[in-house]
Amino acid sequence: MTSIPMADGLILGGILFALGLVGLLLRRNLLLVLVSIEIMLNGAGVAFVAAGSRWGQADGQVMFLFILAAAAAEVSVGLALLLTYFHRRQTLDADSVNEMRG
């Protein structure tokens, strides 16, 4: 049997979430902004699984499956939008998106 402290699992999830937040604020490439959102969702998933395993319930892992579904949906729509934008402007710079008018 394993005996990992739950606090360490939660802290790992928090560190991953914070790193994703830094990437989200820092990067100017829209593709890497989407990657940072994936990292944040992954960190939240780590916290869910750690807390679920603490009480021996499957609920945390069920929540991770829902996060997985949300991440897949978000990435597919996000990448389709990104491709559409790139075909219009030939750039992925987030600072140039404010020129869009409808």
Partner: protein, 174 residues
């Protein structure tokens, strides 16, 4: 055995954090994606050591296997030039990173303080079998599964529509 699992947890957690730091600081998108794969595989090991083997397998199959492959395909289609790297280098080299890092570090410090201050030092010592997860998924969480299926259907239709729209616009331009 217990000791081994703990060592595996901390080693995989360290690998995940280091790979994530490298992923968010790479200039070239493909390098960042490869480090993201390393990070996701390390998180899968973390899930396994926390007694969640099904979730560990799904992390490898869906995150590292499907979502990151989607990103890699998009990078191949976009063919970003040196200009994009130059913009990223300008942002990463300047002072722009100080603000986000300080704000995120403050929030993280607060979260860690709250977690460490909690009285009971509980340990994870249970393993959830796929059977338990399946029973929970199609029992109390059935409505959530239905909603997730609707969300995925909506994402499919949306991505399909956006892809077709950009394609027809390109053809009209030519």
């Amino acid at each position: 055995m217990t000791n081994l699992m703990e060592i595996a947890f901390f080693a995989a957690g360290a690998v995940a954090v280091i790979a994530t730091v490298l992923a968010i600081t790479r200039l070239v998108a493909v390098h960042a994606l490869l480090y993201l794969i390393v990070s996701l595989l390390a998180v899968a090991v973390v899930f396994f050591t926390m007694g969640a083997p099904l979730v560990a397998a799904l992390e490898v199959i869906i995150y590292a296997g499907a979502i990151v492959v989607l990103f890699v395909f998009v990078v191949m289609m976009l063919n970003l030039g040196a200009q994009a790297h130059e913009i990223e280098r300008k942002w990463l080299a300047g002072r722009a990173w100080i603000g986000p890092v300080i704000l995120s570090a403050l929030l993280l410090a607060e979260v860690i303080y709250l977690i460490v201050r909690a009285p009971a030092s509980a340990t994870i010592s249970s393993i959830s079998t796929p059977k338990q997860i399946g029973l929970a998924l199609y029992g109390p969480y059935l409505l959530g599964v239905e909603l997730a299926s609707m969300l995925l259907l909506g994402a499919l239709v949306g991505a399909c529509h956006l892809g077709r729209a950009s394609k027809s616009r390109r053809e009209a331009r030519q």
